[in-house]
Amino acid sequence: MKIKGTELFIKALRAEKVDTLFAYPGSAVITLFDELYKQNDIRLILPRHEQALVHEADGYARSTGKVGVCLVTSGPGATNIVTGIAAANYDSVPIVCFCGQVRRDLIGNDAFQEVDIVGITRGITKHSMMVTDRNQLGKAMKEAFYIASTGKPGPVVVDLPVDMINEMGDEQYPENVYIRSYCPHNDPHIGQIKKAADLLIKANKPLFLAGGGIHVSGAEAVFTHLVEQTHIPVISTIMGRGAIPTDHPLYIGNLGMHGCYAANRAVMECDVLCAVGSRFNDRITGRVDQFAPNAEIIHIDIDTASISRNVKVAVPIVADAGQAVSELLNYAKEIDTNIWQKEIDAWQREHPLKMPATKGLSPASIIKSINTLSRYIVVTDVGQHQMWTAQYLALKEDKKMLTSGGLGTMGYGLPAAIGAKLGNPEKTVICITGDGGIQMNIQEFATAVLEEIPVIVLIFNNSYLGMVRQWQQLMYDRHYAGTDLRAGNRGNNRPEQYVPDFIKLAESYSAVGIRVFYEIDLTAALKAALKEKRRPTVIECMIESEEIVLPMVKAGGSLNEMILGDE
């Protein structure tokens, strides 16, 4: 039997157990929307911008482990996905994004709303393709889901010309998939695992570096088990935070540009460093020729191209983080790390993470009040608030954090929080954002209100694009060029006029808006927000304008050269 491409499309989504589709209509996909109208299994979420649409699918995917599925129209609909796709690509998030395309006979004619989206996204996707043969549609969709979700996950863009998708053709959606040019291998090489175990057993100052790959692989429990079996202390990247509970006695903290003193010291002093699911990004290594100078490095990563690219490693292990760690458990032994741990503890006491006391709200105290809640997903935007969250937020099995770590996309927070809440309605979802970041996708309040998604949005309002301003403050003589969001009102967090007034803005969307200046008001506001079951709440936290994130290692500096702020 032959069926329409649009019918096969729905059939494929059902076969892939897609329950939520993030979609924005347009002329090239209108027939697909008509097909969606006729069914009730797949919830259609209509965002207000395609960039936010992809972030919503991203938040949904990261928080559930399922593939986030997007549908947008051709031309501007497709170009608007670019930032969302790049963010997902950097952080290894499985996303399949279907784009409408003009008719096949018009491609290359500069037709209305025609754009070469496969070409545009080639460098920022795991894979991208155009389906020109209706009888290949099922196979192409199957491959897209397979490629997105296996190996190192990532976004896949599938371009669908409108006449192809409307054509009658093959009704089969394949059950199995084999791609001769794509065979992800997840199993570690046992010889390498033994070498790694030997190195760790002989070490005096061994250290684990937990990266985001542990979360992607769902390997938190087995990794924690390995840490407890070996007694090796753990530092983490921002993406890897929560790989073991942050209150675990063997957890030290984040390393890198805004890492804690003890973690950065530990990496400089350790003699064996075992990195799991991290690509040694410049933000964690600092000056790379001075990174971990005494250490032999073991590197577990699923991506061969990440190995020995930024830092030279002694033992590379190309494998899925979970499988490699499970295998390592078979060979690793308990190591006496007491003296090493005491050394690290002394560094923690010497320079603990702390923030200056203030009459008003301190960022650390806001995050500490979130820590008292249970079962949450915190989604951040990008900037100072993100770093404070990464420093102070408590994480464990049922307390997760989502953040745009690789691309550092402002505007990620609110839509990703909406996606996370859609995937986890039983959990409290909190978006921590800034007065800059929230304005990059603020239109999504409409989505949250109309879809009755009760996310809590904490806006850290310091009236600046704080992270850039911090650099200007520390390195450019306080030349606040282009970073003052309340121009001419430098540093005043009780302005006469708010632009915008986030409270009125929330109310205009029929959301709840509360402005707070003190901790006691914040507690009350959070309590009220937790009671809201059908609409989002904005809590605007007025913080000190010139607060900075410390410690800090300047870009390209050595991890030994930390600005601590308590000298």
Binding site: G119, R122, G123, K126, S181, T304, I307, S308, R309
Partner: protein, 80 residues
């Protein structure tokens, strides 16, 4: 720096050459020559690339090419 020769068996699909050229351009790799030819198998093409690089960069280039979904096989044909 050394002269290198790579041969790639790739899917005979639209855009594969652009993918490889884009990878070289986007990552600032340089190549000396590139040829594409058909093979006995109509679904597969052969791409031969010659380039000059040091060992580390060459390793990275091979790894990056291996990651591409439509590249079936990467062979190093550099004469020893």
């Amino acid at each position: 720096m050394k002269k290198r020769l790579l041969s790639l068996y790739v899917e005979n699909n639209v855009g594969v050459l652009a993918k490889i050229a884009g990878l070289f351009a986007g990552k600032n790799y340089n190549l000396d020559s590139l040829t594409v030819s058909p093979t006995d198998d109509a679904t597969m093409s052969l791409i031969i690339i010659s380039l000059t690089s040091n060992d580390e960069l060459f390793e990275q280039i091979k790894k990056q090419l291996n990651r591409c979904v439509e590249i079936i096989k990467v062979l190093d044909l550099t004469p020893i």
